[in-house]
């Protein structure tokens, strides 16, 4: 299949330089290059911009239409929720946090890998972020958008959500900043705005390219507006690069702070299974794991559909698979620590929580989590698996599911068995819970569809910089 033979990818050949496959293999033994040889500035610009400026493929219309139907399901579910109230969901005391909070934690976690790829890898001079950073950042933005909806939907009176923002109201009431729920508002708002700034700034030079390449009036005007008159002046580049680095450095602590704050929503309470100091790092590792799984879930089909194997080479996939393995091991270590501490603490409630997770009414939840997040990722130890794109995709799907079930385990199973047996309860999502969750999957995927159609999805200016560096190390002249 084409995934294993990137040299057969749709590399434009009109300005091929004299670098053969053998030469590039000799220069970087064992590792495929980040951009396949044969690309020039021109062919690279043409391939990436033609996805936006060219005709819409039939497959895009089919997918977008299908997803639009799911968006309608979402709007229906939310409309009915606003009309009726949260009673349509399965939540009740003692399980007051159900699907909505599971979905919230899952979605906000997914965003983290995008920030790690775009910010931390930039600061570490890891050039393998070049072709995937914009897709990953778009994923971050859209995932935060899904996540941010759930706490609002979960409110009894969602139209009053703005009460969480400190503003001088006539009621003379102010938010309570000793509550981790208020911290959440700031963490997530900041995370979204900073991600948006970073994404837009990264795309600014490319918007200039699109403006200059557009042939029709409407794209010219629209890209002209968002390009802000960018002309690639080297003085601009110097300020731009410095600002980009600074925002990357500012976004880096966000990778660890946002999910830590989310985890504090749980760990500050005294519920068995929640009240634990390991939660912040445990949540951050889980966030990165699910985020890398989601990046792979998006990048592999996009790359195959648009034939981008020459730009998103197998090396990207393999590196992300390595990250998935590392973060999975950290998550697995956290599971082990949780189990150990529940025994070592001598707390009967904590001990009981571990046992009921494994063998209680929700036994299948715990065993599914172990299967998806502990057993299956171990396959990535093998190079053969990491270099097999389909295999990596399947592992990523397992982790996507596993991380959602893990949040179900933490939230629902913990609430279902607290201190008093008289307040033990079983929980199941209703059809509206499922419709809302599947609806957000549809909204997310639909936004990704719009993104790949309307915005150049690979950074052209950064790819050219990488190409220039590859030429320099290769010692050839364009």
């Amino acid at each position: 299949m084409s995934d294993q033979q990137p040299q057969e990818a749709n590399v434009p050949h009109e300005e091929v330089r004299s670098i053969t496959e053998e030469e590039s293999a000799r220069r970087m033994p064992g590792r495929p290059p980040l951009i396949l040889p044969g690309y020039t500035y021109r062919s690279l610009t043409e391939q990436i911009s033609s996805i936006v400026l060219g005709r819409t493929p039939l497959g895009w219309w089919a997918g977008a239409f299908f997803l639009f139907l799911i968006v309608m399901i979402f709007l229906y579910a939310v409309g009915y929720l606003f009309y009726t109230g949260v009673g349509i969901w399965g939540v009740n005391i003692p399980i007051a946090w159900g699907f909505a909070i599971v979905d919230f934690v899952w979605w906000i976690g997914i965003g983290h890998a995008g920030t790690l790829i775009s910010a931390i890898l930039l600061l570490m001079y890891q050039s393998w972020r070049t072709s995937i950073n914009r897709i990953a950042e778009a994923m971050t933005l859209f995932a935060i958008s899904q996540a941010a909806m759930f706490p609002i939907l979960h409110l009894g009176r969602p139209w009053l959500f703005y009460w969480l923002i400190p503003y001088p109201s006539t009621m003379n009431v102010w938010p309570q900043f000793r509550s981790s729920l208020t911290w959440d508002v700031f963490a997530i708002t900041t995370y979204f705005i900073v991600s948006l700034i970073f994404w837009y700034m990264g795309a600014l030079p490319d918007f200039g390219t699109m403006r200059d390449r557009a042939k029709r009036r409407i794209p010219q005007v629209l890209f002209g507006i968002v390009a802000l008159g960018w002309r690639g002046s080297i003085k601009h580049w110097r300020n731009y690069q410095m600002a980009y680095l600074i925002i990357a450095a500012l976004a880096t602590p966000l990778v660890v702070s946002v999910h830590s704050v989310v985890s504090l929503d749980f760990t500050i309470s005294i519920v068995p299974g929640w009240h634990s100091t390991i939660f912040p790092p445990y949540f951050v590792a889980g966030a990165l794991l699910s985020g890398f799984a989601m990046v792979l879930t998006l990048v592999i089909p996009i790359r195959s559909f648009y034939r981008l194997h020459g730009l998103i080479t197998d090396r990207y996939i393999e590196n992300m698979a390595r990250w998935m393995l590392v973060t999975a091991l950290v998550v697995d270590y956290s599971y082990a620590t949780e189990l150990f501490m529940s025994w070592y603490s001598g707390d009967v409630f904590e001990e009981y929580m571990s046992i009921t997770r494994m063998f209680g009414a929700y036994w299948w939840v715990w065993w599914s989590v172990m299967m998806c997040n502990v057993v299956v990722p171990q396959a990535l130890w093998f190079r053969g698996v990491r270099r097999n794109v389909m295999a990596v995709f399947f592992v990523a799907m397992f982790i996507n599911v596993g991380m959602w079930i893990e949040r179900f385990m933490i939230i629902v199973v913990s609430l279902s068995r607290d201190f008093l047996p008289s307040s033990w309860e079983q929980y199941a999502g209703t059809v509206w819970d499922w419709a809302t969750f599947i609806g957000t999957l549809g909204v997310f995927a639909w936004l990704m569809f719009l993104f790949v159609r309307l915005v150049p999805m690979i950074s052209m200016s950064e790819s050219k910089e990488l190409l220039s560096e590859q030429e320099l190390t290769a010692g050839t002249h364009a």
Binding site: N172, F177, I193, T209, L228, N239, L250, S257
Partner: protein
């Protein structure tokens, strides 16, 4: 075709980042001071070659972060201690450790906004009109070509002499930039 005081400057087109770096250094050696280079990607050393060394973005971002963080902490103190104090389990009113997460987030937010808008302000963006766009070939500056512009306001600028100088740098073409 036009007199020196009626054009914005002269523009030379180059094929690669190395060519334009060489050209910009030669122009600097020749004594030109008011020039600019437009490239599809940042080129290491080119900003120094056209005589642009310092960027003030770090100072702006730092001030933005410091001001944002200070205002955030004061705001939280004012809200939870002065204007709307609530006794939560007998904890001190000024329980500053609890104020740190929102303060941190607002510091990051204000520093990022300052970096973005500072960068745009230093670059004079958005800029709906700039003379360089009058050259039709310039549309490739964001794609695959590298342009060196010597402005007419340069004290050493002379249409004929500067044109000859630019042509001596082996460009793909030399163009007049209308104002």
């Amino acid at each position: 075709m036009i007199a020196g005081n009626e054009i914005y400057g002269l523009m030379a087109e180059f094929d690669s980042d190395r060519d334009i770096l060489l050209a910009a250094r030669r122009a600097q050696e020749a004594g030109y001071t008011r020039m600019d280079a437009c490239t599809p990607h940042p080129v290491e050393g080119l900003a120094d070659a056209v005589g642009y060394r310092k960027t003030r973005v770090p100072v702006i971002a730092l001030s933005g972060g410091a001001i944002g963080g200070a205002i955030a902490l004061l705001l939280l103190y004012w809200i939870n201690v002065i204007t709307y104090p609530i006794n939560v389990g007998g904890r001190p009113m000024a329980s500053w450790p609890a104020f740190i997460p929102p303060t941190f987030e607002l510091t990051v937010l204000c520093a990022s906004l300052a970096a973005l808008f500072g960068m745009l302000a230093l670059n004079r963006l958005p800029q709906p009109y700039h003379p360089v766009f009058n050259v039709p070939e310039f549309e490739r500056a964001t794609q695959d070509r590298f342009f060196l512009v010597i402005e007419a306001s340069d004290p050493r600028f002379d249409v004929e002499q500067t044109r000859r100088f630019l042509e001596s740098l082996n460009p793909l073409g030399v163009y007049d930039v209308e104002p």
